[in-house]
Amino acid sequence: MSLSRSKPAAAGRLLRTGVLAALGFAALAAQAALPIEHWTLANGAKIYLVSSQALPIVDVEVDFDAGSRRDPADQAGLASVSSTMVEKGVRAGRNGEPALDQNALGEAWADLGAEFDVSASNDRTSYTLRSLADPKLLDKAVALAARVIGEPTFPDDIWQRERERLSASIREGNTKPATVAARAFSSAVYGGHPYGQQTTEATLARIDTAAMRQRYQQLIVPCRAKLSIVGAVTRAQAEGIANVMLSRLPGPEACTPLPAIAPVPALAESKEVRIPFESAQTHVYIGQPGYPRQDPDHFALNLGNYILGGGGFVSRLTDEVREKRGLTYSVYSGFAPGLDAGAFRVGFQTRPDQAAEAVKVAREVLAKFVAEGPTQNELKAAKDNLIGGFPLLLDSNRKLIGNVANIAWNDLPLDYLDTWTARMNAVTAADIKAAFARKLQPDRMVTVVVGSDPQAKPQGSK
């Protein structure tokens, strides 16, 4: 067991928030431009390449606008379970390759020493491949990835089993206060927008493999692909990789736009959700819809959030809730900007008899920050850390591909990282105050409190 002083990167959503925040902060010192090559293939796929010969490794990420936000409401979870099922088998290839079931696929990846994964987030379905650059291995890994991407079988018998497994896992999650709180917060904050849809046993029951195939045909098409490639390949090799990886996907010659998704509605009034739960800690979320990634306030909001609750051990929330009062192990705030307005949230967990005090303190910190903005000293400290620490965001191929994929996905300019420092430096305390006032309304937030009634019986050791 490894214990760590800081909050763990625990729940998926929280981790995701952190990742997005980190990507948002990615900038580049003037002397260290990251040369991103970008071009479009004949089939419409967009390529973003950083060629780096430092290590004999190649990373590829292929993203599609096929996240859970495009799930039909009554089939919530479709994107996620489809990405699981993609890896459960490929049909016989058009060039005579034999069909591979899930076990044969797992063995094939292991034999190549390669790592391959498919996942779905709110916005995207992502295929990631990491391979050694040795052409004998890389060529085979790319060819295998092409088959998984282009020729999945979605076997029905395996889906029956996966559905049972996922249903059991949902029931297990319902016994955990952290899961219950996260679900309640999403449902309350997104007001019917698909970001708030919850996968349940009922929605899983309405998903069949025909729905997976139909969705796949609509959304996983080469003309909508964005490929980020980092590592020991030339531009020509990268183009070859991209062509092969998408080569088995059927798709239209040209893409028509996907249906627009209505924006996340603003909250009309504050909401309190209290769920009684017998647990050692009460879990709390406070928040509201945030902003889409394209919002011009992004820089000011990210810088401000570092000061409020994003900056590890030095944020206002950590100082007031943890350091001064010892009320929690982990308290944080964060935005989750995506194609749509992902939620802003403050989260923490504490002994039930302290929950009311902790909620009060967190709300006061938040309201004061929104009303007054940061001090000059706080702004300087935030810039020192974020701008000064910029090289840490690019010092591995893993981090590089995260940044490249972020630029690709959000249609950011290719010199985004080159201009980032200047744009961060230009943010003033007044900018932060104004941006927070535009985005956050502390008197109209969702508060979710999942835990036992402290009047009934105090939990914990005291």
Partner: protein, 483 residues
């Protein structure tokens, strides 16, 4: 996809299982062998790490990696919950928290503010075997963080009031990680059942009553006792010059007065002579069963040991998607488990275990999962393993040696955890070579040798159904120490 690593033991990496091995990190028990001064290892394409001993006995390990203008500083102290005694469990971890609370010259909170101002990211961690502190920084800030870190190693100091609040934070950490996590509670109870004399008996975070009773002086005394130069290593990796780092280390760390490392009493685990079983009831939907078999502790890389073949066995069982446990337990309409995993403790300061664990599928019982897990080991004992699967897990290990070079943090972590275990700088390639040399016959032999009843402890999580918990989620009657 699963990605096994032979380093998951010594590196402290989280297991590639749906469930962590409940007994925590493996490690090694004997005093480490003295390091060569200096020694060096290189690989084909990158300069290898170098190791020095400072004038006061502290170890310095430097790994240049010039790809980016960043560096990581880690300080590893060879002290963890293994070195604690009854009544003050959790003190190693509590000290780790208090190390952020100041020195003679740095006020509480100031350490983190300064690291942040340098553009750095930082944290610390405590396990059974060691305590570690780190900062990731733009390389230009390396000297400042060396100055800060050496100061708190030598001069950690804080008022009692800081401790009073921070120990409450630690209790919240325990509630979050353990008390509301039925499988973590089960793991804690399983460790307590497996280990009697070994300090691995106690949880790293400490029993709640020990946290309640802990005093500021308990923590200060632990720092005075264990934070001595000869019990620590500085690991620095990144865009650095070895000679300059060595000079800085002498300047900031070398002056810390040398003191003797306390004598460690062996606290040898008495022989187990018969199966042990525990059950633990907690509010959960799914049952869970964890089997822990005693296995030999690796004495050194060069010594002949069954530990290598056991590591290969765990990878054959659970090292990749479609490996044996997946196929046999989690697939098909009659599958017995929703998930299943295996784990082998390779290296550690204390006694080691081989673990098998699983979550029963709907309608199946923990007993069925237990039987199915053991049947897979028995099958290997009977029939052996195929050359293809053996080659497969070895291929993955070789590939992982290249992938880990992508992260300076991962490199520093590996060097530090190897030092903790008394392993040489080139431990990793040598361990890969050892694993490469394992034969199918050896895997079959260890499967036949270590998996009988007498060395086994079975821990079963018994879910409390909703109607058996009048309070929606109350712990009916947990063991005394837990509350």
């Amino acid at each position: 996809m699963k990605h096994p690593s032979p380093r998951r033991a010594a590196s402290g990496a989280v297991l590639a299982l749906a469930f962590a091995a409940p007994w925590g990190l493996p490690a090694q028990a004997q005093q480490p062998s003295p390091p060569a001064t200096p020694s060096t290892v290189s690989t084909a394409s990158a300069p290898g790490p170098r190791q020095f001993t400072l004038s006061n006995g502290m170890t310095l390990i430097v790994q240049p990696d010039r790809r980016s203008p960043t560096a990581v500083q880690m300080v590893w102290v060879r002290v963890g919950s293994l070195d604690e005694v009854d009544g003050t469990s959790g003190v190693a971890h509590a000290l780790e928290h208090m190390m952020f609370k100041g020195t003679k010259s740095i006020k509480p909170g100031e350490f983190s503010r300064r690291v942040a101002a340098l553009g750095g990211q930082e944290n610390a961690f405590t396990t059974r075997d060691y305590t570690g502190y780190y900062q990731q920084i733009p390389v230009g800030s390396l000297e400042q963080v060396m100055k800060l870190e050496s100061d708190r190693f030598a001069n950690n100091q804080w008022p009692d009031d800081e401790f009073k609040r921070e120990i409450e934070v630690v209790k919240e950490e325990r509630r979050m990680r353990t008390e509301d996590q039925p499988r973590a509670l089960l793991g804690e109870q399983q460790s307590a059942a497996v280990f009697i004399a070994s300090p691995y008996h106690r949880p790293v975070v400490g029993w709640m009553s020990d946290l309640d009773a802990m005093t500021p002086e308990d923590v200060r005394e632990f720092h005075r006792r264990w934070y001595v130069p000869a019990n620590a290593a500085i690991v620095i990796a990144g865009d650095v010059d070895v000679d300059k780092v060595r000079a800085l280390a002498e300047k900031y760390y070398g002056g810390i007065p040398a003191r003797a490392v306390p004598v460690r009493k062996p606290r040898i685990e008495p022989p187990q002579r018969g199966i042990r079983r525990i059950e633990f009831k907690a509010p959960a939907e799914q049952a869970y069963v964890s089997l822990a078999f005693r296995i030999p502790q690796l004495e050194s890389i060069d010594a002949e040991s069954d530990a290598w073949a056991l590591e290969v066995l765990s990878a054959v069982l659970d090292g990749y998607t479609g490996s044996r446990l997946d196929r046999a337990l989690t697939q098909g309409p009659e599958r017995v488990a929703d998930s299943a995993g295996a784990y082998s403790g390779l290296i550690g300061r204390g006694p080691q275990l081989f673990g098998l664990a699983g979550v029963p599928a709907a309608g199946k019982t923990a007993a069925q999962v237990e039987a199915a897990l053991r049947a897979q080991v028995a099958r290997i004992a009977r029939e052996g393993v195929g050359e293809a699967e053996l080659a497969r897990v070895k291929t993955q290990w070789v590939a992982s040696e290249t992938y880990k070079r992508d992260s300076v943090m991962a490199q520093a972590r590996e060097l530090g955890s190897n030092w903790v275990q008394g392993l040489p700088l080139d431990a990793d390639p040598r361990m890969i070579a050892k694993l490469q040399a394992v034969t199918a016959a050896q895997v079959q032999a260890v499967a036949a040798k270590y998996f009988g009843d007498d060395q086994l402890t079975v821990a079963t999580l018994v879910p409390l159904p909703p109607d058996a918990r009048p309070r929606a989620r109350g712990f009916a009657a947990p063991a005394g120490e837990l509350r």
